[in-house]
């Protein structure tokens, strides 16, 4: 009857024994009724699915709802696509920022460990003695000398401004010494001391450690990364709201169905299931579309970015999302969709009760 399992059988027996006395019936009739209900009870025991069958039944319902909610979305392709696109665009923004951050990181990674100390020499200064002295310095790992002429040639080669430099009367570039300091020598304020020391040398016009701007770049990257996470959080909430609203409408559209299911004993989980899968599909599709859009954007800026990198003497390949990040995008989209659907159905399914 109402409760199931062994407890129920006890209740039934006591009810039958104690109170099951059909009105206005003779003892014979009463016995017949009891026999009938006993027989029915046995039939019913077999009729009920046991717990393992019940589990497979729930699994079956999961499968059905998973498929059914997808085909429901496919049956209104334009409307579904619109919703997915809105969510996809919200996912694209932070993804693009993170792709950019990753690329710049990769770009700066080559410089990270090997900062250069560039000494711009005074005109007509004699480099040989200076070089000897610097090679002897234990803090300096290696050094390269570029005469003014070499520096000009290199500049022409990489800037493509040979025409202009050809018109100059004399070479405006100084000779330079490029030093690679030992990493240990740069720890603490070692870097600053080294720069000051070099700056004080009579042949040196200007000493510049490129560590400074790398440090700055790194901090900008960190800031950008944090900003893109913040943006991602905000836009994730936007995705939740979009999903929530979509699911709310879906629930409204299927109100009569929900009422009937509740009338015949569908649990909250059962009623909620198709909507959760709908949210899941929306989110996963949005993630997939977002990944596609990011890839398209990467392809669009790839050419110009590589040309720009060439100017900086860097062989640099723009990195797209990659398989892992694509998966992450799809999975987080699906998760957001599921959560949004859960929130919406939690709020709105409660209000729908049979009257």
């Amino acid at each position: 009857m109402v409760d199931s399992g062994r407890g129920a059988s006890r209740t039934k027996n006591t009810i039958r024994g104690a109170t099951a006395t059909p009105r206005r019936s003779s003892a014979d009739e009463r016995r017949a009724v009891e026999a009938k209900s006993r027989k029915k009870f046995q039939v019913r025991r077999k009729a009920r699915p046991d717990s393992s069958e019940r589990v497979s039944g729930a699994l079956l319902h999961h499968q059905q709802m998973c498929r059914q909610s997808l085909s429901r979305l496919a049956s209104t392709p334009v409307a579904s696509l619109m919703t997915c696109l809105v969510m996809a665009i919200a996912l694209v923004l932070p993804s693009v920022m993170m792709v950019a951050v990753n690329n710049i990181k990769q770009l700066s990674a080559g410089w990270d460990g090997t900062p250069q100390l560039t000494l711009y020499l005074r005109t007509n200064s004699e480099p040989v003695e200076l070089m000897k002295r610097l090679s002897a310095d234990s803090r300096i790992e290696s050094l390269v000398y570029l005469s003014a002429d070499q520096a000009l040639a290199e500049f022409e080669q990489y800037s493509g401004l040979a025409d202009i430099t050809a018109q100059l009367d004399n070479n405006p570039l100084p000779a330079i010494l490029v030093l690679r300091p030992e990493l240990g020598a740069l720890q603490g304020d070692g870097g600053g001391k080294l720069v000051a020391e070099m700056q004080a040398l009579p042949q040196v016009d200007l000493a510049s450690l490129d560590l400074e701007w790398i440090e700055r770049l790194r901090q900008i990257l960190q800031l950008t990364e944090r900003a893109s996470w913040l943006l991602a959080t905000l836009l994730a909430m936007a995705v939740l709201l979009v999903i929530g609203n979509t699911i709310r409408l879906a629930i409204e559209n299927r109100r009569s169905e929900i009422v009937v299911i509740k009338l015949v004993g569908g649990s909250d989980a059962y009623v909620r299931r198709p909507f959760l899968y709908t949210g899941l599909w929306y989110g996963a599709s949005a993630g997939l579309i977002a990944a596609f859009l990011v890839q398209v954007l990467v392809l669009l800026v790839e050419g110009p970015a590589e040309r720009l990198a060439e100017l900086y003497q860097s062989r640099f390949e723009l990195q797209g999302l990659g398989l892992e990040a694509t998966l992450l995008l799809v999975v987080s989209g699906a998760l957001l969709g599921w959560c949004g659907a859960w929130l919406a159905s939690f709020r709105h399914l409660r209000d729908i009760e049979p009257r």
Binding site: V2, D3, T14, S37, K40, R44, P49, E53, R355
Partner: protein, 219 residues
């Protein structure tokens, strides 16, 4: 099976649905519930399946006090009860088969089991050849029989019906009632709300009469 103990139901709007009503329906009984429109028949049935809650008194179904049942226990209660509605509450975007299969799906029956049971139920109401149709393609009497098949497909021990013959002509009504009698003969407890007094009189079962929310006759 059903026990009402000084039950009152007052709606939030102030209307009185049921007033100080006590009675008992035993297992295996078939009982009619009658009275004018607005007498409280639907209210009484709704209290049994917790579509409404009593404002006073105790309602027991199958030995369990409904007052102690929380929201989460309502589905399990309803799965033990078969209900037939006057407006049958069928889903027109699903086939007859799918409509009848709904309680089994909810209870977690396998597809194979579901098929067997649904066909058995449709056979009992004489609609085996209509399983693939939409209920919208059926006559009023046939729709009501689909509703009955859905109410009994999971073999509930209690069957409730609210004006099941409300929209039907006398011949169809008699057929539907005969169907309920057959279920009662295999041991199902049946409680039918109806104001079709002539039909009820011919059936020779116990009759509960309500008037303005009060039980005025039992017998």
């Amino acid at each position: 099976m059903i026990q009402f103990d000084q039950v009152s139901k007052r709606y939030p709007t102030g209307q009185i649905g049921l007033e100080d009503t006590s009675f008992q329906v035993d297992r295996g009984e078939m009982v009619f519930l009658t009275g004018h429109s607005g007498a409280g028949k639907s209210t009484l049935l709704k209290l049994i399946m917790l579509m409404e809650r009593a404002t006073q008194g105790q309602v027991r179904v199958g030995g369990r006090n409904l007052r102690s049942m929380g929201r989460s226990q309502i589905p399990a209660l309803r799965r033990e009860i078969g209900v037939v509605f006057q407006n049958h509450q069928l889903l027109f975007d699903r086939s007859v088969f799918e409509n009848v299969a709904l309680p089994l799906q909810i209870a977690g029956y396998s597809a194979q089991d579901t098929g067997k049971r649904v066909r058995a139920a449709l056979d009992q109401v004489g609609l085996l050849d209509k399983e693939k149709l939409s209920p919208i393609a059926l006559s009023g009497g046939e729709q009501q029989r689909v509703g009955i098949a859905r109410a009994v497909v999971h073999k509930p021990s209690l069957l409730l019906a609210d004006e099941p013959t409300g929209n039907l002509d006398p011949k169809l009504s008699a057929e539907i009632m005969a169907l309920f009698e057959r279920f009662n003969q295999v041991g199902v407890t049946v409680l039918i709300a109806s104001h079709d007094l002539a039909l009820i009189a011919r059936m020779r079962h116990r009759v509960l009469t309500l008037k303005e929310g009060r039980l005025v006759a039992d017998g």
